[in-house]
C-alpha cells in the first residue's frame, strides 16, 4: 500500500467512468481516515460512456497511521456514491534503509545518525566478542544525513585503525547499499572526511548543553558545547564538509588549554571551525572517533 511521509504532498489520480447514456457534471471529494476528513475536491464533466482521470493534490496527514481513502461523488448536488479505495495509505516517518556489505575479518561498519547523534544499531547487532563481522549488516536511519565509519575492532573498543568517517547526504529516502570493500554507497564513492582537505565554518545557536567533557594527559580537559547548526560555509580551497551537518545538532569540543572556553549560554550565536585530523575532539557521544575535530571560531568568554 502507498506509504508517504507526514505532511508530504502527493497526487491521487483515480479514473472515473460514466456508465450512463447522458453526460453529467460531477463533484468529487477525496477523504482520508475513518472520520472521512476532506483532503481535496475536484469538479469535472464526463460524457456518456466515457472515462476521465482526475488528479487530487493531497497534503498528507501529520499523524502517522493507516488511513483509508474515500471518494465522495455528487452530481447536481445529490450524493451518488461514496467509494472506498482498495488500498489504504500509510503515513509513516520515512527511513533510509542502509545495507552494509561488511568486509569481515574483524572490520566493522558503524553508522552515526548525525541528526539524532546516536549510533544506529545494526541488524544483526554487533558484539565486541564477535570474531568476524557478519558479512551483511542492515541499518534503519531516520535521517538523510549520517556518517559511516569502519573500525578494525569490535564495539565499544577504541580502535587504532579506521576508514572514514564518510559523510553521507542522500537526497531520497529508501534503500541504499554501502559496500565496505569499495567504500562506495550505491556505487558512488563517499567523502572521506578525514582523508581530504576540508574545513568549514558552521554556524548555529548554542543550546545550553556545554559541559566539561574530559581530562587527563592524553585528553586534556575540554569544553563541550551544544550547537544547533543552521548553516555551513567552506573555507577557500577546502571542501564544505560541514554542509551535511546543517539542520542537525552538534556537540562540539574544544581543548580548554587552547581556547580557554567557558560555557556558552543557551541561544548564543556562534561559529565553529569544522576541521579534520586535528588533535583532541570527539563526536558526541565520544566513542573513539578521534579523526573529527571542531574548534570554536569566535571564542567568547562569558565569565
Amino acid at each position: 500500500m502507498p506509504q508517504f511521509a507526514p505532511s508530504s504532498v502527493h497526487v491521487a489520480t483515480p479514473v472515473f467512468s460514466n456508465p450512463k447514456s447522458a453526460g453529467f457534471d460531477y463533484s468529487a471529494t477525496l477523504c482520508m481516515g475513518a472520520t472521512l476528513t476532506e483532503m481535496a475536491s475536484a469538479s469535472f464533466h464526463i460524457d456518456a460512456g466515457q472515462s476521465k482521470s482526475v488528479p487530487f493534490s493531497v497534503t498528507m496527514p501529520t499523524t502517522p497511521g493507516t488511513y483509508p481513502v474515500y471518494l465522495k461523488v455528487t452530481s447536481g448536488g445529490v450524493l451518488i456514491g461514496t467509494f472506498v479505495a482498495t488500498e489504504d495509505v500509510v503515513i509513516a516517518q520515512p527511513k533510509v534503509n542502509l545495507q552494509a556489505l561488511a568486509p569481515g575479518g574483524g572490520w566493522y561498519v558503524f553508522v552515526l545518525d548525525t541528526g539524532l547523534q546516536t549510533w544506529i544499531p545494526s541488524s544483526p547487532s554487533l558484539r565486541a566478542q564477535d570474531p568476524v563481522a557478519t558479512p551483511t549488516l542492515s541499518y534503519v536511519i531516520s535521517s538523510k544525513k549520517f556518517l559511516i565509519v569502519l573500525l578494525s575492532d569490535g564495539w565499544p573498543i577504541v580502535t587504532e585503525y579506521y576508514y572514514g568517517p564518510f559523510g553521507v547526504i542522500v537526497s531520497d529516502w529508501g534503500n541504499y547499499i554501502f559496500d565496505a570493500n569499495t567504500l562506495k554507497l550505491n556505487g558512488v564513492a563517499l567523502t572521506d572526511i578525514s582523508a581530504i582537505p576540508n574545513k568549514s565554518k558552521i554556524t548555529g545557536v548554542t543550546n545550553g548543553a556545554g559541559y566539561w567533557a574530559g581530562g587527563g594527559v592524553s585528553f586534556p580537559r575540554v569544553w563541550a558545547v551544544g550547537f544547533n547548526i543552521t548553516s555551513s560555509q567552506p573555507y577557500s580551497g577546502y571542501a564544505d564538509i560541514g554542509s551535511y551537518l546543517v539542520g542537525t545538532t552538534l556537540m562540539a569540543f574544544c581543548n580548554a588549554g587552547e581556547g580557554g572556553l567557558y560555557p556558552f549560554p543557551t541561544g548564543y550565536p556562534a561559529g565553529i571551525k569544522f576541521q579534520a585530523d586535528l588533535s583532541v575532539s570527539y563526536w558526541y557521544p565520544a566513542q573513539g572517533l578521534r579523526q573529527i575535530v571542531y574548534t570554536i571560531d569566535n571564542q567568547v568568554q562569558i565569565a
Binding site: P14, S17, N18, K20, F24, I80
Partner: protein
C-alpha cells in the same frame, strides 16, 4: 395514476377510453413500463380494432411504441388492454414526451388520443471509480 385522454386527431365516437392508468410518469431512460387502458364501445355492434401506445414529440412521430395490438370490444361493452413500452434511450439528462394512443380499424386511422400528462424520462447520474494511482 389515472390519466385523462383527449383527441389529438381523427374522429371521436367509435371507441371511448374509459380509463388509462400508468405509474408516476417520470421514468428512467430505457426502463420498461406498462400502461393499462380500458376501452368502452358505445355502439350496438362489437368493434374490432388495433391500438398502439407510443411516446413522441408530435402526433405520428413514434419514438418508442408498444407495437400494434388487436382488440375486440363487444357492443355496449368494455375491454382492457396492457401496453408495454420501453422508455426512450436518452443522451441528455432528461426529456419530455407526449403519450399517444392510436386506434385503427382495418388499417385506417380512427382516432389518436393524447394523454393530458406528459411523460418525463430521465437518466439518473451514476459513476464508477477504478484504482487510485498515487504519485
Amino acid at each position: 395514476m389515472n390519466m385523462k385522454l383527449r383527441k389529438a386527431n381523427g374522429e371521436e365516437g367509435h371507441i371511448l377510453v374509459k380509463s388509462f392508468e400508468m405509474e408516476d410518469p417520470t421514468f428512467e431512460s430505457e426502463s420498461p413500463h406498462v400502461a393499462r387502458a380500458t376501452f368502452s364501445n358505445p355502439k350496438s355492434i362489437s368493434f374490432t380494432f388495433t391500438s398502439e401506445l407510443y411516446l413522441g414529440k408530435t402526433v405520428g412521430s413514434k419514438v418508442v411504441t408498444s407495437g400494434v395490438q388487436s382488440l375486440t370490444v363487444p357492443a355496449k361493452g368494455t375491454a382492457t388492454k396492457d401496453f408495454s413500452v420501453n422508455m426512450p434511450a436518452l443522451t441528455i439528462p432528461s426529456d419530455i414526451f407526449h403519450c399517444y394512443l392510436e386506434i385503427k380499424e382495418a388499417g385506417v386511422l380512427v382516432i389518436t388520443f393524447i394523454a393530458d400528462t406528459d411523460v418525463t424520462v430521465i437518466v439518473t447520474p451514476a459513476i464508477n471509480v477504478t484504482g487510485i494511482v498515487w504519485t
